[in-house]
């Protein structure tokens, strides 16, 4: 699969899906005007990849500075997809990087992590 790369804008995060290396990243801020419109291609690309993953492994990094309440729902859906792939035998590592100056993003990461049953969750400070 070809990589999916969408640069960040003021209100949308950068998407770096490197399918060749099974490494995915969502970084920046997320408060799009239309959450469904922005995340639809992201969901489709991930669905296509995960459908063929089988017992393989992948890593997803969330490096978010800010997300609004409707984006939180989209992020939860991404996590659910990853957790479902892990339930079917894939090795999935999810990293949630937070800015230590803003504990509400760490708390949000903890909340998402609690709901994961099969994927491995890692909560880490953002470097630098």
């Amino acid at each position: 699969m070809q990589s999916l790369s969408i640069p960040a804008s003021i209100r949308t995060p950068a998407i770096d899906f490197d399918f060749g290396n099974s490494h995915f990243k969502l970084s920046g801020e997320s408060y799009p005007e239309d959450v469904t419109e922005f995340y639809h291609p992201v969901f489709s690309a991930l669905d296509t990849y995960l459908a063929t993953l089988g017992p393989g492994s992948c890593r997803f990094d969330f490096e978010l500075i800010y997300l609004n309440s409707s984006s939180a729902k989209a992020v939860m859906m991404l996590m659910d997809k990853l957790d479902a792939a892990a339930a079917k035998g894939a090795t999935v590592d999810i990293y949630w990087f937070y800015d230590e100056k803003d504990d509400s993003m760490r708390e949000l990461g903890e909340e998402f992590g609690e709901d994961l049953e099969n994927a491995k969750f890692h909560l880490e400070k953002m470097p630098g």
Partner: protein, 189 residues
């Protein structure tokens, strides 16, 4: 006279501790522009990162609530067909950012239908009276479940405002006419 009148408006705002005020039609473009000004510390200069992000987060949810729910809409002339009207709805609201006893406060106000008052009051009272743990549990439940009846945003916006606030949220309603009530929501960060 002209300068005096406008200066008086400015004084009234300042006396109430208001640093920033917007009153008019609320659109996504206004949200983007004012949001950028907040991030660039043009609205509040001396806040730490956590406070600044809290004010920003509350601002975004307040604006998006007004964009979606204010009952006061721009009239187009000639009237648009109903499907186009749904896309073109532009709504009116007022939003202020100020300082009060060392906290930053975000106020937002807009008209709502009288028939929506009780449901909104009930929803807000419930959120206001919850502690952080209860709020966390309810938010999680709402993230998983569908939107509440009559809600286009899963009711998550109000919970996010309460989560970011350092004190319980405050709200009030005042009568405008037979059909409309003015609704105000205050959050301290």
């Amino acid at each position: 006279m002209l300068a005096r009148e406008l200066f008086d408006i400015r004084l009234i705002l300042r006396k109430q501790g208001i640093i920033f005020a917007y009153s008019g039609y609320v659109t996504e473009a206004v949200l983007s522009g004012v949001g950028e000004a907040i991030k660039q510390k043009l609205v509040i200069a001396d806040a730490d990162t956590k406070t600044l992000r809290g004010v920003f987060a509350v601002f975004v949810e307040q604006m998006q609530n007004m964009i979606r729910y204010s009952a006061e809409k721009a009239q187009s002339s000639p009237p648009l067909p109903s499907d186009a009207e749904a896309l073109m709805e532009i709504r009116y609201g007022i939003l202020t950012i100020g300082q009060e006893n060392g906290d930053y406060v975000v106020h937002a106000g807009n008209l709502i239908q009288r028939s929506d008052v009780e449901r909104l009051r009930e929803r807000l009272s419930k959120i206001r009276d919850m502690n952080k743990e209860e709020l966390r549990a309810l938010r999680k439940e709402r993230l998983r479940g569908g939107p509440e009846e009559g809600s286009k945003g899963a009711g998550l916006g109000l919970m996010e405002i309460a989560r970011r606030a350092s004190k319980p949220i405050e709200f009030d309603f005042t009568d405008v006419d037979d059909k409309h009530v003015f609704f105000a929501l205050k959050a301290s960060v």
